[in-house]
């Protein structure tokens, strides 16, 4: 280990987030240049800065690259089955409403195999924060087409280009009833961290889509070098809070809108249940 400052050449370096990660499992499995680590780091920073009781905070993941998030956080954490992070988290939250529940997973997990669970949790307004690392592909299995893969993008299962169109995730979240909806890229780390903190502190179903590069399995096939992707994030995005969710298609040929789009109040699932069903 090397410190660049002679004054601080202490033998044991300690990253400010080391208390929140399982350091014995680091380095993690994410590839060089993968954005998941940055989103994960941002999420941990937000958890810390939000001031919530971390002992009562859990992270739930599904399957996939970002699904490994739960395995690195030094909190109660659950790495569930593919697509089922949200219903598992629903049981956790309803079983103990004191828990702060953060779902950290990927686009394939949350919106293809788990799409049905997402819309229903949003409809019920279950008090949880869902962070979706959207890398536009199935990274873990080697880069197959996802429900978020852009039209005509090349993947191992769409070698001549994706014939289908991707979901507009914030639109889907808004239409399903989410009370907080936002999108950032992993390059917009400060905004993302603030946004995750807001989402964690907000009661109700919060959804944050975070664009993150998959250089190994998406970028490579679509002639997009890691730094190219980040440059797109910098040059081809525009922050427009409260934008119409219908305008949020991701097309880097044009500009991609980032920001906080929905932030409204609605009774949560538990509040409604207590009010409606707990009548003796």
């Amino acid at each position: 280990m090397t410190a660049t400052s002679a004054a601080a050449a202490a033998p044991a370096l300690s990253h400010p987030l080391d208390d929140l990660i399982r350091t014995d499992r680091i380095p993690h499995i994410w590839c060089p240049g993968c954005g998941t680590g940055t989103v994960f780091s941002s999420c941990l920073t937000a958890m810390k800065s939000s001031g919530i009781d971390l002992q009562k905070t859990t992270m739930v993941s599904g399957i996939g690259c970002s699904g490994r998030g739960a395995g690195y956080v030094m909190l109660d954490s659950f790495h569930t089955t593919h697509g089922r992070a949200i219903p598992f988290a629903t049981g956790l939250k309803l079983g103990n409403p004191e828990l702060n529940v953060v779902v950290f997973s990927g686009d394939g997990d949350l919106f293809a195999i788990g799409g049905n669970h997402f819309i229903h949790a949003a409809r019920r307004n279950i008090d949880m924060t869902v962070i979706c690392v959207n890398n536009l592909t199935y990274g873990m299995t080697g880069g197959q087409v996802a429900a978020t893969t852009p039209h005509m993008a090349k993947t191992t299962t769409t070698q001549t280009g994706n014939p289908d169109s991707p979901f507009n995730l914030p639109l889907l979240a808004w239409a399903s009833g989410a009370t907080f909806v936002a999108r950032w890229t992993m390059l917009h780390t400060r905004e993302l961290t603030d946004c995750i903190q807001t989402a964690i502190l907000k009661s109700g179903f919060s959804f944050i889509e975070v664009l993150a590069p998959c250089p190994t399995n998406y970028g490579r096939r679509n002639k997009e070098k890691t730094m190219d992707t980040l440059n797109l994030y910098r040059d081809k995005t525009i922050i427009r809070n409260n934008a119409d969710p219908a305008d949020l298609d991701i097309d880097f040929q044009k500009e991609v809108i980032l920001g906080e789009f929905v932030n409204k109040e609605r009774a949560t699932c538990i509040e409604n249940y207590d009010r409606t069903c707990r009548i003796l």
Binding site: M1, T2, A3, T4, S5, A7, A8, A10, L13, S14, H15, P16, L17, D18, I21, I26, P27, H28, W30, C31, P32, G33, C34, G35, T36, G37, T38, F40, S41, S42, T45, M186, L187, T189, R190, T193, T226, M227, L230, R234
Partner: protein, 89 residues
């Protein structure tokens, strides 16, 4: 150096100083910290870490302003900065 935005009062505000620390063996050499350091003080080193990557090094350590951007963009928990007058705990 490309700035995203330049504050109007950038000439007058007092700038903090920082020390950058790099945990070599966590680095996977993505280069994000190097590319996006607003002061461009970082560069790939010539040394190899355990996994065979070139971790960054601070070429101009005195120019670190402790903005923490390297720390928060790093996907690997491999780099961070602390205020210059603080000692590493």
């Amino acid at each position: 150096m490309k700035y995203w935005r330049v504050p109007f009062d950038s000439d007058v505000i007092e700038i903090t100083k920082g020390n950058v620390f790099i945990i070599d063996d966590r680095c996977k050499g993505c280069g994000y910290c190097i590319e996006f350091c607003p002061r461009s003080i970082l560069a790939f080193s010539t040394r190899f870490n355990k996994k065979g990557y070139h971790p960054p090094e601070a070429l101009k350590p005195d120019e670190c302003v402790n903005c923490h951007y390297c720390e928060i963009i790093c996907p690997e928990f491999a780099i961070y900065s602390v205020e210059a007058d603080q000692q590493q705990p």
